[in-house]
């Protein structure tokens, strides 16, 4: 029997990755994605960096089918999500857990209800089993005991942790993080970084992070790619990124403004 790292090879496992090919997308005449090509290998932790407004979050939403490209393809485990019908798309989405920038917890539900929603909708688990799963997920993010709280009672960092617990409840293969450390103090941000690494190792998931926080990017990534002017212009390990020769990458990672963009007109 053919195996790869002890895993049986099937068409499903053979194509277990995300492939983005020639993706274009515009908004109100603004061409945001201009032919993005990218491959995300199974098990890797990849971070997409780039300036604010360059289309990182847009790209992330394309990966999970929340947005549809004008041209190009996105395949998840060998299945093209750009042409998938709704039912098939929902099947593919079951493989994903997403942590949104503001956590996107459902205001009207408690922490427990937020985390258990997917389980109640998609599984036949009983109340006791669901409660156990919720506790397990909350324990993984160090939030056990908050089951009965409402999102409004949580701090920013706590909301992200609960959002993460909700993202992992359905045991996804891919976890996508949209600006996981934005708006958090450095210590809380670092604890979220630790959590991303911990979950990546503990759950053996593929991690895709979108951020402009280089501290976070260096810490959580196996590979960093940079999105600039709608294209991926750089791909490398954190060390390669730190020593990048390309001007735009070097300036971005070192936080150096382009002098040309700050020319002050004299009066």
């Amino acid at each position: 029997m053919l195996t790869r790292l002890g895993e049986q090879i099937t068409p499903e496992t053979l194509f277990k990755m995300i492939e983005v090919r020639g993706v274009h997308r515009s908004f109100n005449g603004k061409h945001v994605l201009r032919g993005v090509d990218m491959t995300i290998e199974t098990g890797e932790s990849i971070t997409i960096i780039g300036q604010s407004g360059c289309g990182k979050s847009v790209l992330l939403k394309h990966l999970v089918g929340l947005m549809v490209p004008e041209s190009g393809t996105i395949t998840v485990d060998g299945r093209d999500i750009t042409s998938a019908r709704r039912k098939e798309l929902y099947e593919i989405r079951m493989k994903f857990g997403v942590l949104f920038q503001g956590a996107a917890l459902f205001d009207s539900m408690t922490v427990e209800e937020n985390i258990s929603l997917g389980l109640r909708q998609h599984t036949a688990l009983g109340d006791a089993e669901i409660a156990n799963r919720v506790r397990e997920c909350l324990t993984l993010v160090n939030m056990d005991g908050t089951q009965k709280l409402k999102p409004a009672e949580l701090s920013g960092g706590m909301r992200k942790r609960v959002g993460l617990a909700r993202a992992i409840a359905m045991q996804p293969s891919y976890i996508l993080y949209d600006e996981p450390t934005t708006g958090l103090d450095p210590i809380t941000a670092d604890s979220i970084n630790d959590l991303i690494i911990h979950l990546n190792q503990k759950l053996s998931v593929t991690t895709v992070v979108v951020t402009h926080d280089m501290v976070s990017a260096y810490k959580v990534s196996d590979r960093i790619v940079m999105l600039h002017e709608g294209r991926i212009i750089f791909s490398g390990t954190p060390d390669e990124t730190k020593n990048a020769k390309t001007d735009i990458v070097r300036r971005f990672v070192n936080g150096e403004a382009d002098a040309q963009s700050y020319v002050i007109t004299s009066y």
Binding site: V64, L105, L117
Partner: protein, 260 residues
């Protein structure tokens, strides 16, 4: 002159295109609500919860509206008939007006203000805070989970609310005519059975069913289309209210042409 005409034509053309594409998107939502209506059985709890939130919680307001609508109809009926028609016609006149027009339309307008706007605000807030995206990434259809229970609940509850408003309106009218205007109970109620037609009851409640459907669908559609943070949510709330009221008046006219 030619330039301003050209600009005007361009503006009209753009607005027409925008309206048609909005109509297309709205029709698409209606199609999805219809195709996913079966989800109501999976989410029975949500449907019942929405019946309570949108229907039962609206009851006090609807009853107050019904009571005063009936009371003013009785008073106006008395004023207009005095010297021309026997007072015995006030009861049937008020009954017909309340059953066919005032009850369904005023109840629907009040509900449009309360419910359609609140649906738009709630869904709009969920949209701008990415809660709807979160739902979709959890492979839960936002239309099935959010729109279907609200639309179904409002469509079912509107005729119920209207029936109660009509009943209370008649009590209000009889109170005014009997207690304040000195008519006898027989004078007010006596001729109503002679003018009673079951078809009128059906028509009045049938209209309210469409009003409930339109107000909730518009609330959902505008909520799902919300963009731009708090300002967008505020705008969505106003838009839902205005469009629901307009839709109710237009539907009322069209149904009047078809039913009577």
């Amino acid at each position: 002159m030619a330039n301003s005409t050209h600009n005007l034509a361009g503006k009209v053309g753009r607005r027409t295109l925008e309206f048609m594409s909005e109509l297309g998107r709205f029709t698409k939502l209606v199609g999805r609500v219809i195709s996913e209506i079966g989800g109501i059985f999976q989410d029975r709890g949500l449907f019942i919860q929405e019946c309570v939130t949108l229907g039962v919680d609206s009851l006090p307001l609807v009853l107050i509206v019904g009571l005063f609508t009936g009371a003013v109809s009785g008073w106006q009926g008395h004023y207009q008939m005095e010297g021309y028609l026997p007072f015995e016609f006030i009861g049937p006149g008020t009954f017909k007006a309340v059953l066919l027009e005032l009850g369904p339309v005023l109840t629907a307008l009040i509900i449009a203000g309360r419910v359609s706007a609140s649906i738009a605000a709630e869904l709009g807030t969920m949209k701008v805070t990415e809660q709807i995206d979160a739902l979709e990434t959890m492979a839960i259809s936002s239309v099935r989970y959010l729109a279907v229970p609200r639309v179904a609940a409002m469509t079912v509850m509107m005729p119920v609310l209207t029936a109660q408003a009509i009943f209370v309106a008649m009590l209000g009218a009889s109170f005014v005519c009997i207690v304040l205007l000195g008519m006898t109970s027989n004078q007010f109620w006596g001729l109503i059975p002679n003018f009673f037609k079951l078809y009128d009851v059906f028509a009045g409640l049938f209209k309210s069913l469409f009003f409930g459907l339109a107000a909730s669908l518009l609330g959902c559609y505008i909520g799902f289309r919300t963009e731009g943070g708090a300002e967008g949510v505020g705008m969505a709330t106003i838009t839902a209210f205005v469009w629901s009221c307009l839709a109710i008046l237009v539907i009322d006219f069209l149904l009047a042409l078809m039913l009577f």
